[in-house]
Subunit: 332 residues, 2 copies
Amino acid sequence: MSQDQAASVVRITDVAALAGVSIGTASKALNDTGQLRDETRARVREAAQKLGFVMDARGRALSSGRSYTVGMITTDSFGRFTIPVMLGAEDVLSAGQLAVLMCDTRDDSVREQHYIRSLTSRRVDGIIVTGRSSDPRPPIDVAIPVVYAFTPSTDPSDVSISLDDARGAEILADHLLSLGRSKVAYVSGPRRHAAASSRASAAAAHLGAALEGDPLYGDWSEQWGRQSVDLLLRRSPDLDAIACGSDQIARGVCDRLRELGKSVPGDIAVTGFDDWNVMALASRPPLTTVNLRLEELGRLAGQALLELIASGRPASLAIEPTLVIRASTIGS
Amino acid sequence: MSQDQAASVVRITDVAALAGVSIGTASKALNDTGQLRDETRARVREAAQKLGFVMDARGRALSSGRSYTVGMITTDSFGRFTIPVMLGAEDVLSAGQLAVLMCDTRDDSVREQHYIRSLTSRRVDGIIVTGRSSDPRPPIDVAIPVVYAFTPSTDPSDVSISLDDARGAEILADHLLSLGRSKVAYVSGPRRHAAASSRASAAAAHLGAALEGDPLYGDWSEQWGRQSVDLLLRRSPDLDAIACGSDQIARGVCDRLRELGKSVPGDIAVTGFDDWNVMALASRPPLTTVNLRLEELGRLAGQALLELIASGRPASLAIEPTLVIRASTIGS
DNA sequence: GAAAAAGCGGAATACGTTTTCTGGACTCAA
DNA sequence: TTGAGTCCAGAAAACGTATTCCGCTTTTTC
């Protein structure tokens, strides 16, 4: 509407013609490469501006050998954990002029193969792989740069940006200890999940004598949180803290404690894990927990991929969660 | 590893050479076009198979004029509503061999422009636009097929696949009426949200004489749900149902009712809206609500886009939610 | 048995860039 | 004035595919 655009897309040929140069020169001017007089560059840029030229990425991809596109493969249907990761990654990648192709495998290896084929065909510059859990997964078999985010690769020579679950549990344990709690129970998710067991054992090790009984394993639900309170109080009536493997469990714990007339944190302090707002803030009282910094994790994964594409050699690393203190451990 | 691949990517030239045909013929064989003997097609395909040939999408895009790629623009950072929409859309699009570029504008028009430019440059075949709310938004200005999903366009000549909020409210109202409830209150979200007000007014209209007092507007939180119960019971102590504008509000309502010793649904039936599992299933009791069928919405948007790309003329439509009955209206 | 038709595959061109190579114009010193 | 050296810009090749002719071979038809 604004220009005489749409008549037929503007090509670099048109820009070159208007600027009175060859298309090679126009290309150099627009990409800041080659040797050109400043005056020439300016003239070309002006022409491009005037015509509303946007470079055709197809031609560029073919010619330059780089597609300026990366794939993002998730097994998780963009669940609670992968979304922040993807946002972070997408943020740094798109700032680097890279577009991101989304591929949701739904944990189906047939779909995964389909997507890998599609990405290969599109000659993406690299791939970020992420997934539902922090359990390691077998690597994908492609000949281009790959970074694993949140869900690390089982191959240590791959670049994986993961989460330091154990450290998060330690931070919370330290927090409870610093508050003088000395009879702390631990309630976690399913034992088979790396996240559940690594958090539980790291917390147990760090709590030392302050740990009251073995960690309890159940599932990641409020229901289990409520249920665990009854088990715990029967086992140790004089408990003064319950550390949970997730905010969801912690919320259930708080609910049940309130029903039993126990004050949180007065009688018993409660901690969560994840800083999932829907749970942590809606809980009564709001939960002290650790923030997983997943968006930061995604951002680092994006940066690592950029390095890898630029033929650097980034290192794998694990992100340390940060403590978030709310009313479930420190009364208002 | 498996093949002698990676030595240098296999091109159609290599396939043609191995099959003993020209590259034009190879192209026809692989794309099922042109006139070729079956035997020739088979020979080419076999060669492609043997070499592990995957077509270079860049060359194809350039030559065929179609990129087999679409953009998905969201303003919502992939929130609770847009994710199912995107999954549904991505599902049908990738089945149609289209790859999906993800673009999260974070409600920033500068970012939106950036992405539109990027998509234009990549010559995507079409764009799906979605967003945080069901409030209409101004259309984007591009010369390619666009479908609006969940968040409709303000321009009625655009193709929008939206949600029939009013119908969902009616379905729930009908359900409550059919259970014989005759003093029903309505608690909704912020009045300025189309979703809040359209649900409330549709429910009010449909409930007729069974509506007890004007709908209450607050925000989409459990806190507000709890708070509203007190307001409501003070206003009408003999209420027998509370219909809520969201599951989150409904969960708060249930919690507060339980605290007050009211039985749900014995004394008061409660309905939600959204069928957000985290709320609807974790609520005590689990919530009767309507499922928004967002994934279906996304799927329809994807199909509409495919039609539009194939130069069809799909119609806008609004998806009708479906009733999900749980214990908050029908005691076990 | 010859002419027309149908079936088949190849050569060439197009798609829109980037990039290398080459040569012209200018400057400067001898 | 000529030679070397520098700066700039154009011509052309390359990227990997799809597709439009066109001509050759084979089959069909009278």
